[in-house]
Symmetry: C2
């Protein structure tokens, strides 16, 4: 069965887009059929993969609000990825969705008929816990939380897990947090070590009924590496742009770890 | 007359909060009377300054939605700062403000009677161009854009300047972009040099009627420095936590440059 994973964290700039794009590519390189959905109005995952949007090229906005068909919106990305691109119009989607009945399920329903075509569905979210992010959660079964090992990034974890629990309780009982991945990791720093220890303890102590019971802190940690910040400007993934870099090694390790854990482990 | 500055950028994690807090402290250390307003529901500027919120301690949410008085909300921060703290309740403010007439001017009207008490009003924003950010723009005269010298961070600049122009055209004709400050700068990288060159050219070529005509790229650039990521966990500014660090040097230089440019230069 297809696995569906949301990369979310309302804290800005922690590596959501970089992780969604490079894990999508990492899984595709391991032979998986991957659909990447960008629902961030910034459209950075779309941009990262060099995909153009604009007049005559429908986006996720058209899928959600205008009833465009999946095949009209789906685009071919690098590394045999299939991508549903975002567009700045999505800024208005939060308000426009609010007037639709079952507004949290619009994305899930649009994707449902196509689950059989892919092994993985990955979703990149904006830095907020808004209706777009809730739509992504309702369309997924797993949540992976990219986390920068900084104090400010740690603060929002409670609110994030509360939102996941809420969606799990009301819309999607199967939804759970499968893992937390450290991004932009600077191993030598005391701060990173302290945050790493804090988070590991927090996850270990989760109760059975919590949405994050059984979540892991991934062994793979993504080191800070300037190549990861360079590759979006070329519209390429890290594997294509700098295959021997730390960035490529770390995202290959993370993709393998995600693949190995399998659904529901 | 009081100068009022918004630190904004819808791209997440580029240094808005770190800049707002440390420039506020830098100006206070130069003898200025500074009011810092946190309108981000994440409340990271509030947290960074070690200010507690919760029951019995009103926040900016109460000022905007419940009509709480300025003096009930204002708190004393470190370095003789006055702070209007944020609270997670602000997440709901976007919808609740939408039902109020002149919803973009609620913050400006709440602050107006107190302009005489301060030399500087600084505002920290969430990573989005929502009604809270528009309220901040309508309450200010200047915009400073913290920018990480990365490709993805550059992409939103056009949309950001469009929003400032919109507010200037409709609500606040005096509003202008006074500067762009590079944060988390890694000088040795080719990427930072390319982005720096791109932005400098973009600002040089602004037309007279643009909101960013006359904007500068600040000479002071904030280098990446782990002390800046550590100090929030102690509720202290960089000047108090690590006064001899690069972080303190860079923010002292930026504060002096902002002070020296004066209003309307
Ligand atoms: N491991 C890394 N090393 C160096 N730079 C990185 C790394 N991961 C991401 N970056 C860069 O850091 C910035 C933030 O990352 P990214 O945009 O992926 O975060 P995000 O959480 O998606 O941000 P937003 O909240 O705006 O959606 C980007 O410019 C990206 O290129
Ligand atoms: N110059 C710097 N060097 C190292 N770390 C920094 C620097 N500036 C900020 N940081 C850290 O990087 C992270 C992002 O910075 P900050 O939270 O100030 O950005 P922001 O734009 O306010 O984010 P958001 O979009 O979530 O509001 C924080 O953990 C902060 O402590
Ligand atoms: Mg992103
Ligand atoms: Mg912030």
């Amino acid at each position: 069965p297809m696995r569906s994973i949301v990369f979310m964290n309302q804290k800005g700039g922690v590596g959501k887009t970089t992780t969604a794009v490079n894990v999508a590519a990492g899984l595709a390189l391991e032979g998986q059929r991957v659909l990447l959905v960008d629902i961030d109005p910034q459209a950075h995952a779309t941009l990262h993969l060099g995909i153009e949007t604009g007049p005559g090229r429908p986006s996720v906005y058209d899928l959600l609000i205008r009833g465009a068909r999946f095949d009209e919106v789906a685009r071919d990305g690098p590394e045999r990825l299939t991508v549903l691109p975002a567009h700045i119009d999505l800024v208005a989607a939060d308000n426009e969705l609010a007037e639709i009945s079952d507004r949290e399920l619009v994305l899930a329903r649009a994707l449902e008929p196509h689950r059989g075509r892919f092994d993985f569905l990955l979703l990149d979210c904006p830095p907020s816990l808004n209706l777009l992010t809730v739509n992504a959660l309702a369309a997924a079964d797993e949540v992976i939380i990219p986390l920068q090992p900084h104090f400010l990034a740690l603060q929002g974890l409670g609110k994030l897990l509360e939102t996941v629990s809420l969606v799990r309780g009301v819309l999607k009982p199967a939804l759970r947090v499968s893992g937390i991945v450290f991004c932009m990791d600077e191993r030598g720093t005391r701060l990173a070590q302290e945050v790493f220890a804090d988070v590991s303890q927090y996850v270990r102590e989760a109760e059975f009924q919590d949405a994050w019971f059984g979540a892991r802190v991934f062994d793979a940690r993504i080191r800070r590496n300037i190549r990861l910040a360079e590759c979006p400007s070329f519209g390429r993934t890290i594997f294509d742009y700098a295959p021997r870099s730390h960035g490529a090694q770390d995202y290959r390790a993370l993709s393998s770890e995600i693949l190995a854990m399998g659904a529901g482990e």
